[in-house]
Symmetry: C2
Subunit: 452 residues, 2 copies
């Protein structure tokens, strides 16, 4: 069943690249209202494309951008495939080598905004289905498609849509193509995703900026208060001091840890690429544990007083910081938020007040790899690529995986073909032609493995 | 001798206000090269005005804006009077109630940029001389005038000019009119000025901004390093921890402290005006000591990572802060700078580097009030105003007072009539007509007291 499909994929690659190029030409930037019509255009393009492979699809209105939903095929395991057709903004435009919506293929790379995130990735799955249909006259199993248009702007319509259409969308397994390879030779299924708690604190001392000559010494300085609070969030060994923070942090399963220890991960190169040499986290953890399975607390931004050129002897009225916590296991983001806010309030001296801004709270998610589909998919990926596929963690958060569990009771299998140098969210985003081509072949193999 | 001069001052007030208004109309913003010709215009205006009272004056070229130098009078004590004719920029212009260079007199206030800082103040002395000359036909004693045009832009030409013209400018005592009253009823001679050390530190960790999901936990975060360093600069009791920092800090003379304790200083109002209630400095010091005679360390600004609206999970490459130290007694700013930089370097973890930017280093200055001129001037001021005049400290720095000591071997007597609400350096700067009128009368009294 599989070999003719793979042959068809190889033969059809130029046409598949043309189709992807058509989709990449649509500037479907979801966060900017000026591009709303373009988002609808991208959704409509996908509806038409799905219809060419025998999927009955339509674009459903939401308070934001449309959701594309499609159904087709029959028999076998019922799979839902998720991708997103919206893209990040393109500024600063002058850092692009070319128009981000005029796709180029050069040096084995497809260059355009969205090439890797996520149009190129979602089309790997569509093209695999197309080749299957062309070869065998039907799809390999019952398939549901869900393409979102708000992933890059916080997915405001997603949870209500999942709730309202749970019966229609629920399948046996979700497939998501929005992640990367472990390295260009080693495919990966992402089975652990860290959660995220985002908090912004603004401490106010004096009611206005003061002259540090006139008031310095007698007036409380909120920048000093903030610095003390931020400095208190870690102890000398790098552990986070927020009370109860480690509740629910689980130790890595020994078999997973053994597998991670086998991965060709070069910590020196990983850190050396960004000018560092020493893993900075808890000293009894490996670097992969630090970024995949251990929780963190990071200052993402801070500002107070005068930050321009030169010097102003201002004693600032306000000081603020943006702080994020990456969460693992069963850590409860809401409990941690409460505990963090209490820590900050308890640390405030007289005359200081604090305001909190909530920037999201989502728990970690961990896929149940005891489902035999995971091992089957891992084998299928291993067949396509030079190295054996790995079950990996991811430091970042992909909320959709958790939502499928929470609202549709469905496990998600995350496989993707992005590379670390794809420059997603940055100028000159690209997707390797090899990622696209072997990504399509990978999905054909996974479909073959999962559909019977 | 004095009474007819005071009467003449009262009678001439409308004309004196017109003259001040003419000077205020000239937008002599020293920091902006676009206003260079206006600075020259203001200097020339002063030369002509000094000439009308029998002073031989000229505008001397410098690499920056001109210095106005004048000589006149004879006999008695040789006094040098210093003021500055340049003004601060006016932006944000939309916060002004009217054109800052179209002076208005409303509600007993002269409103314009420079009304208080320093055109109105310097003209109090010129008008006192004018009245003396009109009444007695001559000036009260030998007088030298020095008007600077770069005070608001760091006085780059001042020290070379003082050095090159030391013999010409040296007098027995310098008078400076660029400070304020203790309160609207209580005149002040400022005899202690804190010094200032300004430092900017920039800590670099990763060579570029990173995604905190991908790197968080394994990569050092320079914002966290900076926060720890800033938090370590004070101990729990508010003392500054920089090694050797308190070397040279002298205790206040008991007689001066007794005088300060008598001042009608309302710490509750001082702090309450800016939304505070508790003096935040060393707890065994009075609020006036905190701001006048104790050294400080303040964070004037800090920035790192993403500081815009919303949230970005960036792990920043850099974090920086601007820090100033107010110095007293014989504290050595250069030793403190070295010690501070060593503290920062010693606190850096692996993979972090630091860059320092020097934003000036000047010691405190303290006037020798054993010179009988100080007590004589204090009596003269007390005769003019409702309350007895006070010898006060000032939290801010007025480098010129130190320069007169260092380069001309001359003590400076700082008397001025500004009020806390004059909004110098801010929109809607004003100078009370009473400050101007009684300021002129005050100088007439001081001249009468010092000239014989």
């Amino acid at each position: 069943m599989l070999d003719p499909v793979l042959a068809r994929i190889d033969a059809d690659l130029p046409a598949a690249m043309d189709r992807l190029s058509d989709l990449l030409k649509i500037p479907s930037i979801s966060t900017d209202p000026a591009y709303a019509a373009e988002c609808t255009k991208a959704a409509d393009w996908l509806v038409r494309d799905l219809e060419t492979i025998g999927i009955s699809a339509d674009a459903r209105q939401t308070p934001g951008h449309p959701m594309v939903v499609g159904h087709g095929g029959e028999g076998g395991r019922h799979l839902l495939f998720y991708g997103h057709y919206d893209v990040q903004p393109v500024d600063p435009l002058d850092l692009w080598d070319h128009d981000p919506f005029d796709p180029r293929v050069e040096g084995g790379q497809i260059r355009a905004r969205g090439a890797a995130d996520d149009k190129g990735q979602l089309m790997t799955f569509v093209e695999a289905c197309r080749a299957w249909k062309a070869t065998h006259g039907n799809l390999p199993c019952r398939l549901t498609f869900l393409f979102e248009g708000e992933e890059e702007s916080g997915s405001p319509s997603l949870i209500p849509f999942l709730k309202d259409n749970a019966d229609e969308l629920r399948a046996e397994l979700a497939l998501i193509c929005d992640t990367g390879m472990f390295d260009p030779q080693t495919p990966a299924i992402t089975t652990m995703l860290r959660g995220l708690l985002g908090e912004e604190i603004t401490i106010t001392g004096p009611s206005r900026d003061l002259h540090s000559g006139s008031y310095g010494g007698a007036a409380i300085n909120p920048a000093r208060v903030l610095a003390r609070i931020l400095a208190s969030l870690h102890d000398d060994t790098g552990r986070i001091t927020v009370p109860g923070f480690y509740d629910g942090v689980t130790e890595l399963d020994p078999s997973v840890k053994a597998q991670w220890d086998q991965l060709p991960f070069d910590a020196n190169a990983f850190l050396g690429d960004v000018g560092l040499s020493v893993p900075a986290g808890e000293q009894d953890r490996t670097p992969l544990e630090m970024i995949w399975s251990r929780p963190t607390c990071e200052i993402n931004g801070m500002t107070s007083g005068y930050t321009g050129d030169g010097f102003k002897t201002v004693l600032p009225s306000k000081a603020s910081a943006k702080i994020s916590f990456r969460l693992v296991g069963q850590q409860d983001p809401f409990k941690i938020r409460d505990s963090f806010r209490k820590l900050v309030r308890d640390a405030l001296p007289a005359d200081c007040s604090v305001e909190f801004k909530d920037h999201g709270a989502g728990p970690a998610s961990s896929m149940d790899i005891s489902d035999p589909a995971f091992e089957a998919a891992r084998q299928a990926l291993s067949d396509e690529w030079p190295n054996e596929a790995a079950f990996v963690g991811a430091g970042g958060s992909i909320p959709i995986a958790g939502y499928f569990g929470d609202y549709l009771g469905m496990t998600a299998l995350l496989a993707g073909f992005g590379r670390d140098d794809d420059r997603i969210h940055s100028p000159n985003e690209k997707y390797d032609v090899e990622s696209f081509h072997k990504g399509i072949r990978s999905w054909a193999r996974i479909l073959a493995a999962l559909s019977n």
